[in-house]
């Protein structure tokens, strides 16, 4: 086919395939918008929030909203030039040029703190250094945005030397922290087709030899810090293929790298884009040609292919690295129908546990009927997953590394209770949420009263031995729903609705009660703990994520809507 004919066919196809009219829902939404009172300018909205927060601080000393504003909320797009260093990217901001806090309430570790920053839709993932520093990288909306990386001390104050905000950077990726505390983080500059990988020391300075200029704009995920002090990441080439790049601690290309991937690299469901094994082997998921299968690729630290890899996964959907160093992969057999031809149905889910040699462990694969979600791996390498569609019988599986059910398992849910469903994208078939595993080994599952997902929501807790914990399930008030964690999934499992379980059996859950987002803390017997629930937002939120920090408390990320941006609040509370 020649160019002229192809271009003509493209024009005709686009003309014929584009729908002639927008759905009524959009017209109704447009009409509703035009009737809406002009929005409060964000600066004023902030002051409203601030006043409320200060009042809350005075009344509830146990939970202080310390609003430390780092950029004006009418947007990250309007950060004044004076706030960025004169030498783009070569030094971090001096303490004097740190964006001023417009309000600050004295905070103590006992009372907790909060930190707010405007950001783009899509949830930034906070990461925590071994010294307790919490890093948050932002990607403000729009071409004129100014991204920044913040380092917060255990009291929620921006550390001296931070934020890191080189001029022109519109977005940062999720940081990774090396064993020596080096922070590796990607940035994108407006108008560039490439990106930069920065290595920052804990004081916010760029390490000598960095940044590294990558070929493509922030490939899906983050860089991974390698055990020997460098970083590894994937970049897209112009040809549409991908290659894996490993850099030395000095920011130069490591011998034997880059390594081209045999197909298109893809982020598995749940954000498992890549993982580093205990021996430094890099693992990634690759889409294979025109099939729905995927391959997991293994590359050794010297750039050679790891023996036994790649491994083909039929209908491959994702993988997670287990604490024991194995790879737990899963894939689906579907009815083969894709929208718009019809509705995709997951017929079977296949789990596979692979050793470092690429060989399936004895007892695997394990195939179950119907859909299952992202598996959760316990500290002892037990794989937990919920199996079956909400309309049928559902069970919670607990499979040992030998592929056998643990004693006392599986647990079959009563017919009137179903696991909370989620779908990784619009139109994708529902999967049941997998349970979370608490620090005390209990298994916690968000559930609803079947068959209506609009019905009452609750939590089920099972003992490690597979019996229901006394006092559970607990049910939320009928006007209360789950808060969801949006576009990311916590490391280790859980999906969308993700309760977390602490050491003494405390279970934390984010819920929406009216327009308010609240955090519940339930004791081992399912009773609400004194002093809870605690509010974290008084406007409807987009997403709430919970991160339990051992010996420190609970970090909550709350996204509330600012129209074309979101307001991200980190809350640390005990």
């Amino acid at each position: 086919m020649n160019d002229e004919r192809l271009e003509r066919q493209l024009r005709e196809l686009f003309r014929d395939d584009a729908p002639n009219s927008a759905p009524n829902s959009l017209r109704l939404h447009a009409a509703e918008l035009s009737r809406r009172v002009r929005p409060i300018p964000p600066r004023r909205r902030l002051s409203v929030v601030l006043v409320r927060a200060l009042a809350a601080a005075a009344v509830a000393a146990a939970f202080v909203f310390a609003l430390v504003l780092t950029v004006p909320l009418d947007g990250p797009r309007e950060v004044p030039a004076s706030r960025v260093p004169a030498s783009p990217g070569l030094t971090s901001m001096s303490p004097a040029s740190t964006p001023p806090a417009t309000a600050s309430v004295p905070a103590t570790e006992a009372s907790g703190w909060s930190f707010r920053v405007a950001d783009s839709p899509g949830t930034p993932m906070p990461v925590r250094g071994s010294d307790g520093t919490i890093y948050l990288a932002t990607k403000p909306f729009g071409a004129r945005g100014q991204g920044a990386v913040y380092a917060l001390d255990p009291l929620g104050q921006v550390r001296s030397g931070w934020p890191f905000a080189p001029e022109g950077v519109v977005a940062f990726g999720t940081p990774a922290i090396g064993a020596d505390g080096t922070l590796y983080v990607f940035s994108t500059t407006f108008g560039s087709t490439g990106s930069r990988l920065w290595a920052l020391d804990p004081s916010g300075h760029v390490k000598p030899g960095w940044p590294y200029e990558a070929l493509s704009i922030m490939p899906f995920g983050q860089a991974l810090a390698t055990p020997d002090g460098g970083a590894v990441f994937v970049e897209a080439q112009d040809s549409g293929t991908h290659q894996v790049v490993t850099l030395t601690p000095q920011g130069s290309l490591k011998a034997g790298w880059p390594v081209s991937l045999p197909g298109s690299w893809t982020c598995g469901e749940g954000g498992a884009c890549a993982a580093l094994g205990n021996d430094g082997t890099w693992y990634g998921l690759v889409q294979v040609g025109a099939s729905s299968d995927a391959e997991i690729v293994g590359i050794r630290p010297d750039g050679s292919s790891a023996p036994g890899w790649p491994v083909r996964i039929a209908g491959g959907e994702g993988f997670v690295l287990t604490p024991g160093g194995a790879i737990c992969a899963w894939g689906y057999d579907t009815n083969g129908i894709a929208p718009p031809m019809g509705i995709t149905t997951i017929l079977r889910t296949r789990f596979l546990l692979l050793g470092a040699d690429g060989q399936p462990k004895p007892g695997w694969p394990v195939t179950i009927a119907g859909p299952s979600g992202i598996p959760t791996i316990g500290a002892d390498d037990t794989m937990y997953a919920t199996a079956g569609a909400a309309a049928g019988t559902q069970t919670i599986l607990a499979l040992g590394p030998d592929g056998r059910e643990r004693a006392g398992w599986p647990y079959t849910l009563p017919t009137e209770i179903a696991a909370w469903p989620y779908a990784p994208s619009a139109g994708a078939p529902d999967r049941p949420t997998s349970p979370s595993v608490g620090a005390d080994g209990r298994v916690i599952l968000p559930v609803f009263r079947a068959p209506d997902t609009n019905g009452q929501k609750g939590l089920l807790a099972l003992r490690p031995t597979g019996e229901v914990s006394p006092g559970w399930p607990i049910w939320l008030p009928t006007d209360t729903s789950f808060e969801t964690i949006g576009g990311y999934v916590q490391g280790g499992g859980g999906a969308l609705v993700s309760p977390v379980g602490g050491q003494e059996g405390t279970v934390y859950l984010a819920v929406a009660s009216g327009a308010r987002a609240e955090i519940l803390a339930l004791d081992a017997g399912g009773a609400l703990k004194p002093g809870w629930p605690r509010p974290v937002a008084d406007t409807p939120s987009r997403a709430v994520g919970l991160f339990l920090v051992p010996d420190a408390g609970l970090v909550v990320t709350v996204q509330t809507d600012l129209g074309n941006a979101t307001l991200v609040t980190l809350v640390m509370t005990r």
């Binding site: 395939d17 927008a22 447009a30 619009a426 576009g487």
Partner: protein, 188 residues
């Protein structure tokens, strides 16, 4: 009525009038641009539900950023730029799995004597392209924009746009040729 009350009342009236003008302008925008913008989003994203989400976000964004619109003559281009950005944002937040050639419907293979099959091949090849390449093809051949205009809309360099157009067309051609070969081999 005291002078202060009068002043307050007149301010409110002015505010009401401004709100009405704004609402009227916004309604005109949506009456004129919604269908075309939805079509654009459908072609870029290849999925009507996703397109609806993207245009929904774009409407919210346009309403909030209305005051940044300086030239009402450029209203259409301004809104479609917001829609294009919303599509980019949505596509990058979601993993879009390309539909593969092997999933072509059976009836298409039976039709290959006509041009129907070639069109099916083209449609599938387009869906298999990544969103960056599909987007420049849609802007070029549906929106009829020149390379420089596409570059401005996407915030990219013209060279990048040219390269994506070139690569996109080349990939489409290769996919269509490969699919045609596989059908003719299957017939033999």
């Amino acid at each position: 009525m005291g002078s202060e009350d009068t002043l307050v009342a007149s301010r409110e009236e002015r505010g009401d009038a401004a709100t009405r003008v704004r609402a009227g302008d916004f309604k005109r925008l949506t009456d004129r641009e919604l269908d075309r913008s939805y079509g654009l989003a459908c072609l870029i994203l290849g999925d009507r539900d996703d397109a609806e989400d993207a245009v929904h976000d774009a409407l919210e964004s346009a309403w909030l950023r209305w005051d940044s619109l300086r030239d009402t003559e450029r209203l259409g281009a301004w809104f479609r730029r917001i829609v294009t950005n919303a599509c980019c944002d949505l596509a990058r937040r979601r993993r879009i799995t390309p539909i593969t050639m092997s999933e072509l419907p059976e009836q298409a293979a039976a039709d290959h004597a006509t041009g129907v099959l070639e069109r099916e091949f083209l449609r599938e090849a387009l869906r298999a392209l990544d969103v960056d390449h599909r987007m420049v093809l849609v802007l070029r051949y549906y929106e009829d924009l020149a390379v420089d205009e596409i570059a401005r809309r996407l915030g990219e360099r013209p060279g990048t746009v040219k390269s994506r157009l070139h690569y996109g067309l080349r990939t489409l051609r290769a996919d269509i040729d490969a699919a045609a070969r596989s059908v003719s081999e299957g017939d033999r």
